[in-house]
Point group: C2
Chain length 333, copies 2
């Protein structure tokens, strides 16, 4: 069986599944391609929220209670910054700050985001590869009924309150897909590509907006499976449900499945959504049910194992599906 | 009686006396001109150790146990930075970090060091004026038997171990004295100039090396008093004693007094040094004995009061001393 697995991930939800996968796979076998559309500069520091969530989860440093940032965190910096009259809308824990300061320092010395990510992840004992979708800046911009906002301004400062009209990924057209991302997706021993349970619009779309990334997924020699970020009509975390509604889509896991139509071979829904009418299944896509809510590390591993178990049957199906004109008419196959 | 007091200060020892003065003087009456020769950039942050010591002391945020940094400090950042393989030779507390990050941010937006110092000090409730000796960069370089070192490298990283040969203050010749410093020293209602119990070589000398600063002291219309940083042949803190020895001077308060010869009207020694032979007193300088060790805030206030009490008698003496060709033949007087 092929051995390499690629996961496309945004922040917290995706990071949990990536961590689950890392419990089952050798370090070198797992590559996480991570959204950098949420990245921004704040207080002079380069902040990559999704990369950090993935790295913290893989390093076992994520905070299971809060859902973001580091465990064992302290908040002296923020209190002192507030006393100084500094900007406090974006919370930075004292330990978390070290990652931003050190990344900023190394990048100022000339390292790329990918290099720094790799160095810092290694320092924390992470063995999987964590790769930014691009070393070039891509910035998600949210077009709302109150005007265009930077992602963190919309997400953190405005708490997703403005009504969303559309999104654009500034710089994506000029960004070069990270070479390691393309290499992983074109690996001959690729076993599975997993679209993590991340926000499809602001976590996965920016990755796909980088030139070459969607094509690399389409021509990957392995099945592509997405895991739902919507359970029982609600987002586990974040504004995915609100965005679905505001973009005129149904607030359901199947709406996300349809959104991924043509890109994925299978979509994993939560068992509590098994009652939805099967007629909603997009053509050429297999729907699979699983317990998708990841409350603890065991849940993560269990879901990761279920997703991995789909690789072989889907690969077999794909061979026949190819003859029926399914997802990916890969010229090399 | 004239009302304004100017203190020349380095870090911790000077900061204590400045804080003592602030217990006795109205905010507007006290100006601290602070050494910036120790300033450096670290982790991409602009760090001004002496300014910070003075601001923390004035804000009541200094740590009386540790002797530097903030009280109630936490160290999560340093632990996390260490885990990331970042440079940890310079300790930065989590709360302290906020000052550096916020200063760096505001200076990147175009504010001067003096402006940012004033803003941040005000935010912390400081009413005295804290003025950097210059807004221009001056960097103390330590020429040692192991080569030339940056000050923080010598002081923190090497713990003052290399034997000192000389010092130079890079950029001092091109630096412009801070206008508020010159304004304070030339104020017609100036009551007293105090050279704080700071290291004469690396805290006070850099201030005097800024063009115009020594002349401003010489022409100030008030007595100049220095307080000893050496008590009983030992430095209260830092490498002053070691430097005295390595520069071929006696390790005594009087050696410091001689070092300031021509600049000051009086020198305050600790009472435990009262036994030293009076013959050592430099010409034209009055020696005064006091309890100079500042263990707590009461000590600081008491010493500040003693120093302030010398202003009037010295001013009276100076009028007669002038006719005998003492320190400052001020053409304007």
């Amino acid at each position: 069986m092929n051995s390499r697995v690629v996961a496309l991930s945004g922040g917290v939800g995706g990071a949990k599944l990536v961590q689950g996968l890392s419990q089952l796979l050798d370090g070198a076998a797992l590559t996480a391609i991570v959204n950098t559309g949420d990245d921004f500069e704040h207080l002079g520091l380069r902040i990559s929220p999704d990369i950090d969530s993935v790295v913290y989860a893989l390093a076992g440093l994520d905070d299971p209670e809060r859902g973001w940032g580091r465990c064992g965190e302290s908040w002296t910096f923020m209190a002192a910054l507030k006393a100084l009259g500094g900007p406090t809308w974006f919370a930075l824990g004292d330990g978390d700050l070290a990652l931003h300061v050190e990344r900023t320092r190394r990048m100022a010395e000339g390292a790329t985001l990918g290099e720094v990510t790799q160095q810092l992840a290694r320092a924390l004992g992470v063995r999987a590869r964590v790769v930014p979708m691009s070393d070039d800046p891509v910035r998600t911009r949210v077009i709302t009924d109150e005007g265009e906002l930077g992602f963190q301004d919309y997400f953190v400062n405005r708490r997703c309150a403005p009504r969303i009209r559309s999104l654009r990924f500034e710089g994506a057209d000029r960004a070069r897909a990270h070479p390691e991302a393309l290499e992983a997706l074109s690996a001959p021993d690729l076993r599975l590509v997993i679209v993590c349970p991340s926000n499809p619009f602001v976590s996965i779309e920016p990755i796909l907006a980088v030139p070459g990334m969607r094509a690399a997924l389409e021509s990957a020699r392995a099945p592509v499976i997405a895991v739902t970020p919507i359970i029982g009509g609600r987002a586990v975390k974040g504004p995915a449900a609100k965005m679905l509604a505001e973009l005129g889509l149904a607030v359901s896991a199947r709406a996300v499945a349809r959104h991924y139509s043509g890109l994925i071979d299978a979509f994993v829904l939560d068992r509590i959504d098994e009652q939805e009418p099967a007629a909603d299944a997009p053509a050429g896509m297999r729907l699979v049910y699983a317990d998708t809510l990841m409350r603890d590390r065991d849940d993560r591993r269990r879901l990761a194992a279920e997703v991995l178990s789909l690789a072989e049957p889907l690969a077999t199906e794909a061979v026949s599906a190819h003859t029926h004109g399914a997802r990916r008419p890969d010229p090399r196959r």
